[in-house]
Subunit: 743 residues, 2 copies
Amino acid sequence: MASSSSITISPATLSRSSTCLHGSTQKLHPATNSLSLPKFSGLKSINTATANVSRRRIPIITRLPVRASAVETLQKTTDTTLVEKSVNTIRFLAIDAVEKANSGHPGLPMGCAPMGHILYDEVMRYNPKNPKWFNRDRFVLSAGHGCMLQYALLHLAGYDSVKEEDLKSFRQWGSKTPGHPENFETLGVEVTTGPLGQGVANAVGLALAEKHLAARYNKPDCEVVDHYTYVILGDGCQMEGIANEASSLAAHWGLGKLIAFYDDNHISIDGDTEISFSESVDARFEALGWHVIWVKNGNTGYDEIRAAIKEAKAVKDRPTLIKVTTTIGYGSPNKANSYSVHGSALGAKEVEATRKSLGWPYEPFHVPEDVKKHWSCHVPDGAALEAEWNAKFAEYEKKYPEEAAELKTIISGELPAGWEKALPTYTPESPADATRNLSQQNLNALAKVLPGLLGGSADLASSNMTLLKMFGDFQKNTPEERNLRFGVREHSMGAICNGIACHTPGLIPYCATFFVFTDYMRAAMRISALCEARVIYVMTHDSIGLGEDGPTHQPIEHLASFRAMPNILMLRPADGNETAGAYKVAVLNRKRPSVLALSRQKLAQLAGTSMEGVEKGGYIISDNSASNKPDVILIGTGSELEIAAKAAEELRKEGKAVRVVSFVSWELFDEQSEDYKESVLPTAVTARVSIEAGSTFGWEKIVGAKGKAIGIDGFGASAPAGKIYKEFGITAEAVVAAAKEVS
Amino acid sequence: MASSSSITISPATLSRSSTCLHGSTQKLHPATNSLSLPKFSGLKSINTATANVSRRRIPIITRLPVRASAVETLQKTTDTTLVEKSVNTIRFLAIDAVEKANSGHPGLPMGCAPMGHILYDEVMRYNPKNPKWFNRDRFVLSAGHGCMLQYALLHLAGYDSVKEEDLKSFRQWGSKTPGHPENFETLGVEVTTGPLGQGVANAVGLALAEKHLAARYNKPDCEVVDHYTYVILGDGCQMEGIANEASSLAAHWGLGKLIAFYDDNHISIDGDTEISFSESVDARFEALGWHVIWVKNGNTGYDEIRAAIKEAKAVKDRPTLIKVTTTIGYGSPNKANSYSVHGSALGAKEVEATRKSLGWPYEPFHVPEDVKKHWSCHVPDGAALEAEWNAKFAEYEKKYPEEAAELKTIISGELPAGWEKALPTYTPESPADATRNLSQQNLNALAKVLPGLLGGSADLASSNMTLLKMFGDFQKNTPEERNLRFGVREHSMGAICNGIACHTPGLIPYCATFFVFTDYMRAAMRISALCEARVIYVMTHDSIGLGEDGPTHQPIEHLASFRAMPNILMLRPADGNETAGAYKVAVLNRKRPSVLALSRQKLAQLAGTSMEGVEKGGYIISDNSASNKPDVILIGTGSELEIAAKAAEELRKEGKAVRVVSFVSWELFDEQSEDYKESVLPTAVTARVSIEAGSTFGWEKIVGAKGKAIGIDGFGASAPAGKIYKEFGITAEAVVAAAKEVS
């Protein structure tokens, strides 16, 4: 269990080419001897004087061909002077952009510029002119506030999304360079980060997706899925619980191609991290099962960083944490290594001082010609990488046409024709069932026709009913399987699913817990909504109907809280057809997540429900009025639609003209035409009663000032479900009484 | 940094009295030799055959006097036969209650009964007839689903809250024994648990409160604050990120009197924890800075458990994790060690088999006479403990009357007379300021008059403006200080504050982050609301008004999402007087938490605002109409009240009769009389415009179908705040236009 690491740097590692990939060719000098650092377990007590790594450059010029395998670090670079110039370019682009915006975070880019340079210039495989190339290496800046680092790198690498004018409009209205990385604004940004800890969990999802697709589609003679996932996280990310959750899973799953750089700069917003963070992060990651390497000089130790990446790639059975000790705001004579450089512009005077200190005579936003020239190789190199991969894929397609066809739909996100025919249908005669069970029927039906569907639960698979029966568990040694076991880690579950969804358009992750525990993962769900990730949130036990577990487990305000959240669909199906409709909607909405609130308890299959109805959000399931003018409209969702239908029966017996409306998704209903809305909820009919076993907050909009909303505005209770429904007045009798009152 | 532990069991530790405290007296046999286990770092590889601890009982009968110091474990017990009988009583009370309810979780109580027995019978100091005795040891069942363990223990110990009939009505409507522990239902339960990971964070808060009060009030000659905090957590808790956050802080703060029992049973709902949880928990806790002990036989190893507690108490500079390896459902021949015993009744047949297997001939719910007799000592012993403490406090009061008086107000929760006079007041001439700054003025004013006020931020103290200037940081060696530094750990911050609030009525914890990051801590905030904990949530940067950080940092749906949550006050003050009013309300509401949404940007001090107005939730700040019939009512909250006031000026210039209403808290307004509500929002005036830089969800209730709600129903943007306000139409011009439209 205990893992220890030694950094071994060989001359081969230290050797670098003096030019780009397309430069002159020489044979790589073989490793002849190596230099060992002390064992990792003694990390904290290493005498840095004795541990100094010789950074003598060995003047061997190498030229490596473009290689298809991502397993080895690309060993290319240029002379240190040019590297340092490039690193300082990155630093000053960040400094200048923050200065111009008078807002932003210069400290991280200044400290992380060396690792950023090495990643984007020497290690990562990407194509600037096709940022969505499938087999690219993924990079996540979990410490998203340092986004100028990434913008500078994308700019230097030749991405069209970040031109000089974009750097100059950093943090301005309508720019491509917002205050935190946003995948929906800036091509080349993989996920939306900023809220701390999310990014590292996204990266786990990205690495999981790679491992899964590689296991399913790669052939011994043709590996078409083969990339690394890199992430930079800071002290803030490390403190967040979500990061520990995700890191625990990453090791459990053996995500060997996940390489995390921990920017260990000892500074957070409130000052030195010592005031609240005295744990041993290295030892914690070892306990979680990671390989851990410490780069002691992240400011100028280029070879240390390179060696660490090489070592990380050699460790294939688990993820690697490279702790890179850096100085926040490196180069600023008066602000480096202090919280003042974390989140504010340096100020003209200190910018000037930093220019002097780093020997930077240039105007703001200037990229020196030699640096520009050096980075210019990435456009042709990237094109070559993609072309090579395309050729490989063509070969793969010839040999394995079926697999290639399937993988192509995953890559493109195109849904197989007629996929929706797989969704089950029900009649009122179908047996009553809990929507969580009906959900499982849908998931299993969809898994057969949607090759990109995969997911699981936060240790509640048997309660959430989320197992795909024809598949096994995605585990370290069975990564081709499609059932994910997240453990009791809701927050990282959501963020990991965001990573999966952002990896490739055709991957459709779903994840599950009790609806009330969306409170644990709300930050990740909000990012799903913001970053347009199609994650399906399967949320069961959606009301007091779960019974005895009591108020800690009974959602009340949760429906309202998601209805208020932008760009997320809150769906509460009432029976089999509506559950199928909810899944249809969830799959079709490529640019927003869906939350399905599902019952623990059995529900009748109702007459009048339909998939088509669900797609409209609100629709009539029954009506005995002659025109569009019933005496009263009863509106229900989910498990309470049945109660509304029962109340309607009673009222109709008494001669009333009653309409029953299923209001399965407020967002979808809002998007319908005014005519359609009027046809369901005519303005003239103010006698309206809604019933939903949750907060009435927001229902005034639907029932109007003259209507009545039946719901629960306090917490639930521990008792059998039927008893709670009765005590809380969520009954047909209450609906009948309210209907009489309002009509 | 590296910590290792050896379990050393001496004969003294193993010696036990054969009776209760009030039994016969003999001298404690001195330790003569000890038996060492291998070093902890080799834990995983210990050969259990060689590591077996001798459990030979040494037949020395001891009688210890009631001791005021809680530092040493009470070394009292009875013969093993009776202990086992007591442990089986606990097991069967749990089995029988779950069986009768046909719902619940028997597995944990069956596995944890031995540690439960030892804690409540031998170790913990409490008074069953006064469950709120200030100096009691605190116990938290973080794995709250196993609540029958705690109910059984409270029952045996003589708490009036859990009588036999309460056990028989487990999980039934109106019972004192709900499905998860609820402090507001059951005296003797300290906090509300069930949502995993919360309890261990609550325990950190309880232990923090003890350490803080001890540091402030204890004198070398008189220690009036002196108790332990015990917590049982399971595998599920361990997987949750919040538990790692809280555990990191517990070690950082050096909470030596926090002792956590990790019920290491390898089973969670989805099966063996191996499917998702392969980290080394022991090593992780060592990395966090805890002392770690492993009890290998938690099922019958009573002496091992006792020795571990003794060792834990001897380690005073950091918390201790006792990993207790148990068998879930111990005693059930066919279900033990499987997920099937986790969350379901055993079933009649398996109950019978378990009775046979454990040799239990009794009827359901039977407590054997000798067990009953044995436990009967806790009522007199508890009374003696409290009496002794009362005597000590009387002595303290004589010697240190000022400190005693202050501590008494903290213990009673009584607010000092006239405390609210400390709140600052403002006039329209006072300088414009951000409400986050005004909040800091209030916090600092209140800290002088409320000795129980303490709190801090999740690494945003300088942004949230939460520092108490006259105090230093609460740290390991300065626990008397009142500024808490939570690091970037929002979720545990909330739960720790719940623990502080539940510790003693007069402690008033506040905590802070950006409003949008309530998403990280919502589960803890919901528990605040449910368990009636007066936590003050200081949430700054409450809208797009924060500007450049962009949509990841800009709350939209958050106001609505808290307005929908039961028993929590959502307050959005507009200026200085309203901020003071919000604090007044927050302090006065002893049984509910408050969320203060505060601006980053400067706001004018408005005419007409008042603390009294805030207490009513919604009130008129200006009105130029003659009667209660203005042409239009403009309604604003927080930073948009100023905009509403400006729009009113414009409209009044045009001759309109305009009322401006501040709607600072929906919940408080809802609680006013119908007459009052009508006086502010007369039914006859349907021309209403609301403005709030957040979701319009819910506003229909206030503005009605004929009114207009101005807000933001999509995500925000990264740009200077003024620009975003303008682009999103959150302007006085928009209010004027809307007012004309509706009136």
